[in-house]
């Protein structure tokens, strides 16, 4: 396709879309009589409703249905796909890795974000210091993976070859042998998790910093006058005051972590025992072409996400209600 063809597609899309919306608004504007508002609301909702039913609800139901069929979606096999997920050693490893991600990432990212938010709060460099930590949020998971792959890069230790990855250079500087980091099982999982922590700490810091600033001044002042030191202040005033925000951050990061795919795919492709559910879903569905297992993994993801989201939304309401 030439650039002109592509632009042509773009123009067609804009024209088609504008025509649809124009028609909806035009017809809605003509509606008269007692039931006018009913017709208008139907017109206003129809485009979104159509897309959501055809593109989200039906596909989701279809995937649930397919998860009970074999790899080509022809023979009904009951729960055997789910049994496979929970019994086959490779897939059990995927579940273990996912558990590692979900436990470690939210805790460390939140802890680092919180500590940093407290440390830079009301200092001269606050906004600059925050921007440094927050910037990774704008970078794609793919870009972040490349950045960290470079940090982990390994060159065999022979002759005059120098390390170009920072971590291995450190190992050499302190007199150790360089290590092919991404191959070290199961520690390589932690190296991948680090990328996610790097991205999410900025999110945690932003939300928590806002929560810290919302603590009324008279409370902190009073605590100070009572002789409350910085450490005690943190544990007895700051932490309890921002509890709801803390829960929101923890659960939000967990949800993101459950769906993490880009990092694993870009860093290792799921090799060396680093696959997680979202990555395994992609491999099973589009590489191995086992639609049954793929669908079952997607459904599993769904089932794991729901309780966290429900809890998250409840807490978020509490935060917003203040």
């Amino acid at each position: 396709m030439t650039l002109l063809d592509k632009l042509g597609q773009l123009v067609v899309a804009i024209v088609v879309f504008a025509a649809i919306i124009g028609l909806v608004l035009f017809v809605a504007d003509r509606a008269r009589g007692r039931r006018a508002e009913l017709w208008q609301s139907i017109l206003f909702l129809a485009p979104s409703a159509l897309l959501l039913i055809v593109g989200l609800i039906w596909p989701a139901l279809r995937t649930i249905y397919q998860s009970f069929f074999d790899r080509t979606s022809t023979n009904f096999t009951g729960v055997s796909n789910y049994l496979t997920i929970f019994t086959q050693p490779e897939l059990l490893l995927v579940l273990r890795n996912t558990a590692l991600w979900v436990v470690i990432t939210p805790i460390l990212a939140t802890a680092i974000g919180l500590v940093y938010a407290v440390l830079v709060d009301r200092t001269r460099f606050e906004s600059f210091a925050k921007a440094l930590i927050f910037l990774p949020m704008a970078i794609s998971f793919v870009g972040a993976s490349i950045i960290w792959k470079f940090v982990y890069e390994y060159r065999p230790n022979q002759g005059n070859i120098q390390q170009i990855g920072l971590i291995n250079q450190f190992l050499v500087w302190i007199g150790l042998e360089p290590v092919n980091l991404l191959l070290q099982q199961p520690w390589n999982n932690l190296l991948l998790i680090m990328v996610m922590i790097w991205i999410q700490a900025g999110f945690a810091m932003t939300i928590l910093s806002a929560a810290i600033k919302a603590i009324p001044d008279d409370i902190t002042e009073a605590a100070r006058l009572d002789g409350c030191g910085n450490v005690r202040m943190f544990f007895s005033i700051t932490l309890p005051s921002i509890r709801p925000a803390l829960v929101v951050v923890l659960t939000t990061i967990s949800i993101g972590v459950l769906k993490v795919f880009d990092i694993v795919r870009t860093m290792t492709g799921g090799q060396f025992n680093t696959s997680v559910i979202a990555n395994e879903f992609y491999s099973q569905s589009f590489r191995i072409n086992d639609y049954g297992i793929g669908a079952a993994l997607a459904v599993l993801l769904f089932v794991l996400v729901v309780p966290i989201v429900v809890y998250n939304i409840r807490q978020m309401r509490k935060v917003n209600a203040r």
Binding site: D29, L38, R62, A138, S145, F150, L166, S285, A298, F302
Partner: protein
């Protein structure tokens, strides 16, 4: 609560406490440690990006044989990595860059327009089952998009849309709708009812109220969602890979760079430059529209 009551009585001590030499010294000491700790985190968080950024300007030989920290002993700078990765080779990155732009624009605009119309209906019109429908839309936010991918792909194949930009535009729009409707509804709902009533009295219908009263007031909310959706679409890999991954005609930057990382994983002069080509646009958008992004961030945190 006792803490607060104490404040009034203790007020006169405020000045004394603040200037007491031992307290000041203690504060300074702890703030010095605090600054050091903050500095360590800031450096750790910045160095990886900085190293790759520096490498993208170093000559190929230097990048491949020496660490980026040796740059400070040998100040050679070149743009050839960028020209190489952008314009040379069988699949120059510039094409993917164009694709990313072509994918992102409609994928941001379409859901905003559709959602603002739907959000208006939810906020200001009366129709049966309104609350039930709204809760249903809200609940759809939790569906992970993995669950929808394969059946959606089959739909595109049977309708002949497979492998075109339409697949990515439509998919991103669908996945964005629940959040967009929810967010825009919330801020439309906050508009005072008197304003709508006044317009009605003047003889304006829903369409005119939507276009002339509501949309201008919705600018901040729309901007917040637009920034969020822009970063989401530009940085997305999964949707692009599934629907547009097979062909260089429509694949965006993320797909190509992930591919480069797999096939040319040791060509760090190209990878570093390529990564920054993909990072620069969202970074600029993010830095210039940061305040909108922070708003959209929390609201949209469970998407995907």
């Amino acid at each position: 609560m006792t803490v607060i009551e104490d404040v009034a009585g203790a007020k006169p001590d405020l000045a004394a406490a603040a200037t007491s030499p031992s307290a000041a010294a203690k504060n300074q000491l702890s703030s010095r440690w605090a600054s050091a700790a903050a500095l360590v985190i800031a450096v750790l968080w910045t160095i990886p990006t900085f190293g790759l950024f520096l490498s993208s300007f170093r000559p190929e030989r230097a990048v491949k044989t020496t660490g980026w920290w040796t740059f400070f002993g040998d100040w050679s700078v070149t743009f050839s990595n960028y020209t190489a990765v952008l314009f040379r080779g069988g699949q120059p990155l510039i094409n993917y860059f164009v694709n990313s732009i072509l994918i992102t624009l409609p994928a941001v605009v379409i859901p905003i327009v559709l959602a603002s119309v739907a959000a208006y209906a939810f906020a200001w019109m009366k129709f049966p089952f309104k609350d039930t429908l709204f809760v249903a839309v809200f609940a759809l936010q939790i569906v992970p998009l993995q669950v929808a991918l394969i059946p959606l792909l089959q739909i595109y194949e049977t309708t002949g849309l497979g492998g075109t930009f339409w697949t990515v535009w439509i998919s991103h729009s669908i996945f964005a709708l629940p959040l967009a409707i929810f967010l825009l509804h919330n801020s439309m709902h906050e508009i005072p009812a008197e304003l709508i009533e006044a317009a009605r009295v003047d003889g304006a219908g829903h369409v005119r109220i939507f276009l002339q009263v509501m949309l201008p007031l919705m600018k901040p909310a729309i901007a917040a969602f637009a920034v969020f959706q822009f970063l989401w679409v530009w940085n997305d890999l999964l949707v692009a890979l599934v629907f547009a991954g097979g062909t260089a005609d429509v694949a965006p930057l993320t797909v190509r760079i992930a591919e480069l990382s797999g096939t040319r994983g040791t060509d760090w002069h190209l990878l570093s430059a390529g990564a920054f080509v993909s990072i620069i646009i969202p970074l600029v958008v993010f830095l210039s529209l940061q305040r909108f992004f922070v708003r959209g961030l929390l609201a949209g945190s469970v998407k995907g």
